[in-house]
Subunit: 354 residues, 2 copies
């Protein structure tokens, strides 16, 4: 791919690595590429990060024809830069775009765009423990036209920002509200994609959870409102009686890259992993009778996030005395070890950019 | 409300009223107003229609926190300008915004914004039969921040475009595909709102319908995939054995302004209207045994759109020999008569702007 580089005159000042937060500081550059019907993808460029112009009748502002991805670049102790399974994000974005009737692209193109931007922004990748560069690829319709239809022009962009440790004071278990009224996804819908509409629809659940003193929502299936699916921006796993349970990938749950990686590791460690429909009643029962040993969310942002408590209607169960479980900790250490290059990458998951 | 007016130097040339299409020509001006946390709505203005600047990390581009409305301004034979039940659109947008955790506003503010813009753009309202000015109010998050959350800043905008007769060659019945795999909405989701995500999710259904020679999709409920809900951008009604059937407003179907108006009229005309769950099997059966007398979609764009045929799996039924039904035609004539000021407005639905 031929990528034009448009230099900026003055680079931004880099923020304090101890105080990065999430998405507060965007880097100096962004990758941009256009798609037009009859032409395909064209005009790849890396240009100064800054506002874009959009027509008020742009399809995206009205009908949300938009998808995104999220991954990270990690700086190792010996100064190499690693990506973690970027081809998985490429595949998922291709799947998302198909569902949303948006243009696809070769996996290579997606990965190359990210690699080239990361190379340009290498000085933005922080070196403090557990910091990384968050990378946000996204595609959206740019056509200006008010009829509801498949748009004929799109933009693919990649932007990035340095991010701090997700839990600056060490990993803390989270309290999760099981949502019994609102629904995130249903078979035949868009739950398996990373399209904007899924997230807009989820905000109310998040707001309600916070009002009840919880930090996250656990969604139930949209048909029976009974089976556990996933958390706001994480897949979720349960260790019950020594075995692992997590929702299957059947159209409603996002196929998380972290989820897939953790399942590989767990199987290699000899755990039985049940990708099956676990009912919230069985979950609460396991919580009460003590067979629910651990639970954790999996996602790019926090990698592994232990669950300390589930609240469902008038009931609630505390998991492992609200402390991070042994297996949860071991998974966190091992997977982050691979990501930051401190563990041998026996699965071949990391990809060296520099 | 204090609205600042920013004049444009040169007005656009008005398009040929015989060839307006839908959404091809935007007018000279747009209404814009901002909302910020702690301040509320501020800086109402009518300014030249043109591109806006948006940050690449704007919440709307990633998480589709956006809602919209659609209504029309009609020019009567004696030159008055009418809106049709704009307070219904205001109410619906307030409901949409609540579900999407976006700021609400007083109904008056919504209606005033539209009235003021329509006054400025009065020369854009066409006078050819069945033409009108389509008005598109929309609200979207403007905050630049990548965390999934309720945004802290928004824009409310109103744009408009003259539109032609929906069926330039007279009303033609449409052929509709009953979609049995993809789902538009489910209880607990956002089906009752006009949020962007609903429409992005629906495009694939539309594309598939067109591939099968149909012009529209009829959606079934997301739980049983059995009960008839609504069409792409219309509610749908059936006349079976002299009675009217249409899906109830229970959280999945959009509460259409046209639907509500037609139900009022039908009841006044002595029809029994059943707002109930009609299964697709019962619909096809009624089609085959001849009790399905008429069917039509209702929506702002086409007002009333007769259905000529339903295709469901390997089955299909033709309605009323693919001709517009008597009641459908009578409803169309009467309601458009009120909207264009040719019928007495006994319901008080029209609102004179000028
Ligand atoms: C809804 C949802 N589920 C799960 C995940 C976890 O996916 P991944 O592990 O690829 O980050 C995410 C975040 O990306 C998400 O948004
Ligand atoms: C999904 C959907 N259903 C129904 C309608 C009809 O609503 P109204 O009669 O208010 O235009 C519309 C169009 O606005 C729509 O988008």
């Amino acid at each position: 791919m031929d990528i034009k580089f448009v230099k900026r005159d003055v680079l931004k000042e880099k923020p304090d690595q101890k105080n990065l937060g999430f998405g507060k500081y965007m880097t100096d550059y962004m990758f941009v590429m256009d798609w037009d019907q009859g032409i395909g993808w064209h005009d790849a460029r890396i240009e100064p990060y800054g506002p874009i112009e959009i027509n008020p009748s742009c399809v995206t502002l009205h009908y949300a024809q938009e998808t995104f991805e999220g991954l990270k670049a990690y700086r190792t102790k010996d100064g190499r830069i690693l990506l973690f399974r970027p081809e998985m994000n490429a595949k998922r974005m291709i799947t998302s775009n198909e569902r949303l009737c948006m243009p696809g692209f070769p996996e290579d193109m997606f990965v190359e765009a990210i690699e080239e931007l990361v190379k340009v922004e290498k000085d933005w990748i922080p070196s403090e423990p557990e910091t990384s560069l968050y990378i946000r690829p996204f595609v959206f319709a740019t056509e200006a036209s008010l009829g509801v239809h498949q748009a004929i022009s799109y933009k693919f962009m990649v932007i990035c920002c340095p991010v701090g440790a997700y839990y600056p004071e060490g990993i803390n278990p989270v309290k999760i509200l099981v949502e019994d009224e609102l629904v995130r996804a249903v078979q035949g819908g868009t739950g398996f994609t990373k399209c904007g509409g899924n997230y807009a629809a989820s905000i109310l659940g998040q707001v309600r959870a916070e009002a009840k003193g919880c930090t996250q929502v656990l969604w139930l299936d949209g048909v029976n409102r009974k089976y556990v699916e996933e958390v706001g921006t994480m897949n979720i796993m349960f260790k019950i009686n020594g075995e692992i349970y997590t929702a299957p990938i059947e159209g409603t749950v996002l196929p998380g890259v972290t989820r897939d990686s953790i399942i590989h590791i767990l199987k290699d460690w000899g755990y039985k992993v049940n990708e099956t429909h676990l009912s919230v009643d069985d979950l609460m029962k396991a919580g009460h009778d003590g067979t629910l040993e651990e639970s954790f969310g999996t996602g790019t942002a926090a990698v592994i996030s232990p669950v300390g408590e589930f609240v469902y209607k008038d009931d609630s169960v505390v998991v492992n005395d609200f402390k991070i479980g042994e297996l949860t900790q071991r998974l966190y250490d091992y997977l982050t070890g691979i990501q930051w290059g401190n563990e041998e990458d026996k699965y071949g998951w990391t990809r060296e950019v520099l």
